[in-house]
């Protein structure tokens, strides 16, 4: 259709760095549509307002807060011990990591240190949780893109991790596994053996996931050069975790500022080069294998000894403030706690990795197609419970 009234000069694309097609075959009006809040590919209640030109994304705006529960306000009205289970409800697929960060932050504020045995148990459970979190990410991300099989594989194998959690502390997801000062529970009889069995069980399974996807042509076409973010942009946007590492920044808090017992283990930091969805996939796959390495070292030399440090029954940190952060599966998870010397935090701020990483969505999807937005939301790996808190 040669229609001179549909002139390309009407289009306002100049400031968005998009090439103007010579022959506009679609209506050149911009279209604004909502994706979500109820949408299977938004991994929860995330609403993304898309500004489209045909299928091309010109810009996005995230509307969040649908799951806001006021966690930080709740913290100010609970004692330090009472607040401990609440942190599990933020990133509920990596509850153990949340608990580790919180307990360590309060311990730092009280100037106590968990015993060596507790630290090893913490590392083992946290790394198991990292694998579980990455498995859940992989299954849902692949499902979003159209590969259904990995979902069944990853959920089948993640079950084994949840069984270990259940046997250890009675809960599968919101575990409340750690206490301020150490761990409440001693490992159950046969814990080491079950963890070792899991390691030999899951290593070939990770190869299996890779067999399905890594060289799969459809997977590569859908992920390579999609959602690219440069290292400079990622740092400026405060992006952390696998997303930052896939852009080539070799930075992991477990190495940079070791906490728990991480300084005692030998592991590598996998990085990518292109900062695209495919690299982020490869980084997370490699991270699962590194987690297996850490768990293997830890489980083979769990020291004997107590699992709780000497902490008073009523936790009353001295007046002061502390920031402590850990490398959660999704990035830097930080707790900034202000104590006024009472039994309740005066102010407790959570620095959620999902919230900060989600801000990079806009820069990553500009110029892509609508279908790629789904891939990019998946690759950032957000949990809305943590974004909204």
């Amino acid at each position: 259709m040669k229609d001179s009234t549909h002139d390309a000069s009407n289009r306002t694309l100049s400031n968005l760095d998009l090439e103007t097609p010579e022959k506009p075959y679609l209506d050149s009006n911009e279209l604004i549509i909502n994706m979500g809040p109820q949408h299977p590919a938004t991994h929860g209640v995330l609403r993304v307002i898309l500004k489209l030109d045909g299928e091309k994304v010109l810009g996005t705006e995230c509307v969040i807060g649908y799951l806001h529960r006021g966690v930080e306000k709740i913290a100010e009205n609970r004692t330090y011990t009472m607040f401990n289970p609440y942190v599990d409800r933020m990133d509920y697929v990596a509850a153990v990591s949340n608990g580790l960060g919180y307990c360590e932050a309060v311990e730092k504020l009280m100037n106590v240190e968990a015993p060596a045995r507790a630290k090893y148990i913490r590392v083992i459970l946290t790394e198991l949780n990292r694998i579980a979190s990455h498995q859940l990410w992989l299954g849902t991300h692949a499902l979003d893109i159209g590969a259904m099989t990995p979902l069944f594989y990853t959920f089948r194998d993640r079950e084994e991790i949840l069984k270990i959690f259940e046997k250890y502390c009675g809960a599968r997801l919101t575990t409340h596994a750690f206490r301020i000062g150490g761990c409440q529970y001693e490992t159950y009889a046969g814990f080491e053996k079950e963890v070792k069995n899991f390691l030999t069980f899951v290593a070939p399974k990770i190869d299996e996931y890779e067999e399905l996807l890594t060289t799969n042509r459809i997977w590569i076409e859908r992920t390579r050069n999609v959602g690219v973010i440069s290292a400079a942009d990622a740092i400026g946007l405060g992006v952390t975790g696998p997303v930052l590492r896939a852009s080539g920044v070799k930075w992991d808090l477990r190495k940079a500022q070791p906490y728990a017992a991480y300084s005692e283990f030998d592991f590598d930091i996998p990085t990518g080069t292109n900062g695209d969805t495919y690299d982020r996939y490869l980084v997370r796959m490699a991270e699962m294998r590194q987690s297996l390495r850490i768990i293997e070292q830890a489980v083979n030399r769990i020291p004997e000894g107590p699992i709780m440090a000497k902490v008073p029954k009523i936790i009353k940190p001295p007046v002061g403030e502390i920031y402590h952060s850990i490398e959660a599966p999704k990035g830097e998870l930080g707790y900034f706690i202000v104590s006024d010397g009472s039994t309740q935090p005066y102010r407790l701020r959570v620095r959620p990795p999902s919230f900060v990483n989600l801000q990079a969505l806009d820069i990553m999807v500009r110029g892509l197609l609508v279908a790629d937005v789904v891939a990019v939301i998946g690759t950032i790996d957000i949990v809305l419970g943590e974004v909204d808190r």
């Binding site: 807060g65 806001h68 946007l237 500022q257 007046v319």
Partner: protein, 211 residues
């Protein structure tokens, strides 16, 4: 790793040590010591002055407007509000604090300058963290750091949403977690935990109360 080194500190009894900047401002001195229970922990750690070439440089440049302390091995600057944009920019441009970890605030209703605004910064080349904080009064505004770190955009929106602190020069300062028409800022101390905007709930959700 420099900040992780725990400095063993002989604890001199020091009142109101929590806000080092408070001493020179005098106003909160009476309100501060009343809050912590005096007999609770007399032998707790206290902040000590933080000495480093970085601090010397800024103190030489800005004098009394800037104070530097270390608490439990973590360093922070207490900076006068007017110096904030300069200090933040210098920390990024000259001292390589290229990653803004978090921006948040703390409400002290009994103080004359009610809010502490806190920036948590990290430097990849130095592997070092620093906190910058400043005190501002209720209703006062502070300059936005979106032009310094792009990540400040959402973080400042959240501070605005939760505390009602205005950031000058922010490209799109509006609520982020709460709905647009919500009244009140929940993380202020005078906002009760059971309090909510009933009017909003009635209009938008069609129920009497969300409680």
């Amino acid at each position: 790793m420099a900040e992780e080194v725990k400095t063993p500190v002989p604890p001199p009894p020091l009142e109101g040590e929590k806000k080092p900047a408070a001493e020179e401002r005098a106003a909160p001195a009476s309100a501060e010591p009343a809050k912590p229970a005096a007999p609770a922990k007399p032998a707790g750690p206290v902040p000590v002055p933080w000495t480093s070439p970085l601090v010397e440089k800024y103190k030489g440049q800005y004098g009394s407007g800037i104070d530097a302390q270390t608490y439990l091995g973590q360093n922070y600057f207490a900076v006068d509000r007017s110096l904030i944009p300069n200090i933040l920019r210098l920390l990024r441009d000259e001292e390589q604090f290229d990653y803004c970890v978090d921006i948040t605030a703390v409400h002290y209703p009994q103080r004359e300058k009610q809010f502490d605004v806190v920036w948590i910064l990290y430097s990849f080349p130095r592997n070092q963290r620093v906190r910058v904080k400043t005190q501002i009064a209720d209703g006062a505004s502070i300059s936005s750091s979106v032009s310094i770190w792009a990540t400040a955009n959402w973080l400042e929106r959240e501070v605005y949403d939760m505390f009602g602190i205005q950031f000058d020069g922010h490209p799109d300062l509006k609520r982020i977690l709460l709905p647009d028409g919500w009244k009140g800022h929940p993380l202020r101390k005078d906002y009760g935990i059971l309090q909510q905007d009933n009017e909003w709930v009635q209009i938008n959700l069609g129920i009497e109360s969300g409680q």
